[in-house]
Amino acid sequence: MADFEGRSLRCRRGGRDVFAGLSFALPPGGALLLTGPNGSGKSSLLRLMAGLLRPADGELLWEDRPIDEAPEAHAARLHYLGHLDAVKPVLSVAENLRFWADLRGGGESVDAALEAFALTELAAVPGRLLSAGQRRRLALARLVAAPAELWLLDEPSVGLDHASVGRLAAAIAEHRAGGGRVVVATHTALDLGDPQRLSLDALPPPPLPEMVW
């Protein structure tokens, strides 16, 4: 089995279960769309998948090996895009992107990544002058600038204009065509082709704590 797999995951935040008994399996080239209302644990699940959080129960497996066996190897194979864009205000767009690409050993595809998200004209502009949508595009360009097998995208289309959402969909399609996997949590329309869907509000509610009087 070459799946990225989660088995009966339970996530606890601040003393209460966010979700429990959650399982998924994602084959190479697959896309997983997380849906559910605010607070249903989509971001927590993505952080679990990235290894930023640890599950209270259950396990995450990459091709049958637990991901916490080798955290650095897992980190090397994934791109995580959270709510924050990691853009330094005093560095230019190209410098921002080049640092993250070089750190992952990419580097040579920085220009192509700028092109893919229509940032070439902004390459010399410092980060502090970017609009929210432009900062988001710069964060997305990181995905393309250095290859990684697994993309974990938390609301990737927030702040993007129509054309940029199309560019994102194209980048995801190309990533999947090359055997890459992608997990996306989003509320907006984003064309993922034929994603698996995982609805977090459809999960069995966690058992109520027993009252002891």
Binding site: A50, G51, L52, L53, R54, E72, A73, A75, A76, L78, Y80, G82, H83, L84, D85, A86, V87, K88, V90, L91, E95, F99, W100, D102, L103, R104, G105
Partner: protein
């Protein structure tokens, strides 16, 4: 998998990035040095301009003020990266977080500790300190200021998630600065009195070696905790 080459390259990349950021925001780096010089310059007004007294207490003043100047700069060590999401990305880079912490501390020392050492001779002149002690003072600072950055980094990492973390850092870090202060002043005092400074310097070096091991481990653990 990450190769040895990749680790060294990643380590140097982070140092280069932090140095470039410091260069673009020069005010931050100047702040520590100016604080160092100006605060030390207050002492002659406070204790009186008597040259013998000033020369006698010069090593202690220089060390205490250097320590406070480093303290002043600690909050920005991880906070900006934490707030803009860079820290999350660093944690998820192929480079072990322990080495990323060490790289950031090294960059912090280059932009804070090293300028303090460069400014120290100016203060030695100001305080009429005997030039026999100047060499040892600089050597002791060369061994001691990296320790200040290393110890401080653990405090900065531990207070990241906390509200008003900047106020907590001094409470946490100042007691841990005492060994570096004692041996640093001891070395310079010994040299001024014509005694052997070597034992003090060796102890300073020992503290530095211990912290070179402790800080990456403790700092990385604290950062992981802050990002949960």
């Amino acid at each position: 998998m990450v190769t040895g080459d990749g680790v060294v390259r990643g380590f140097l990349l982070i140092i280069a990035r932090d140095l470039r950021l410091a260069l673009r925001q020069r005010a931050d780096a100047w702040l520590a040095v100016l604080f160092f010089v100006l605060t030390a310059a207050l002492f002659p007004f406070g204790v009186g301009p008597e040259p013998n007294l000033l020369a006698r207490i010069a090593p202690g003043i220089i060390w205490v003020v250097a320590l406070l100047a480093v303290l002043l700069s600690l909050e920005r060590l991880f906070l900006a990266d934490y707030e803009d999401g860079s820290l999350e990305q660093l944690l998820l880079s192929p480079l072990p977080l322990e080495l990323a912490v060490l790289a950031k501390v090294l960059a912090h020392w280059l932009t804070t500790g090293l300028p303090l050492i460069a400014a120290a001779p100016l203060l030695a002149v100001l305080f009429h300190m005997d030039f026999a002690g100047l060499g040892v003072l600089l050597l002791a600072m060369l061994l001691g200021t990296p320790t200040l950055s290393l110890v401080g980094a653990v405090g900065a990492a531990l207070t990241l998630g906390a509200r008003r973390g900047g106020v907590l850092i001094p409470l946490l870090v100042l007691p841990l600065y005492v060994p570096a202060l004692i041996f640093g002043v001891g070395a310079t005092d010994a040299a001024l009195l014509g005694l052997a400074a070597r034992p003090h310097l060796l102890l300073l070096g020992a503290v530095l070696l211990v912290m070179l091991v402790v800080t990456p481990l403790a700092g990385a653990a604290a950062l992981r905790q802050a990002l949960e």
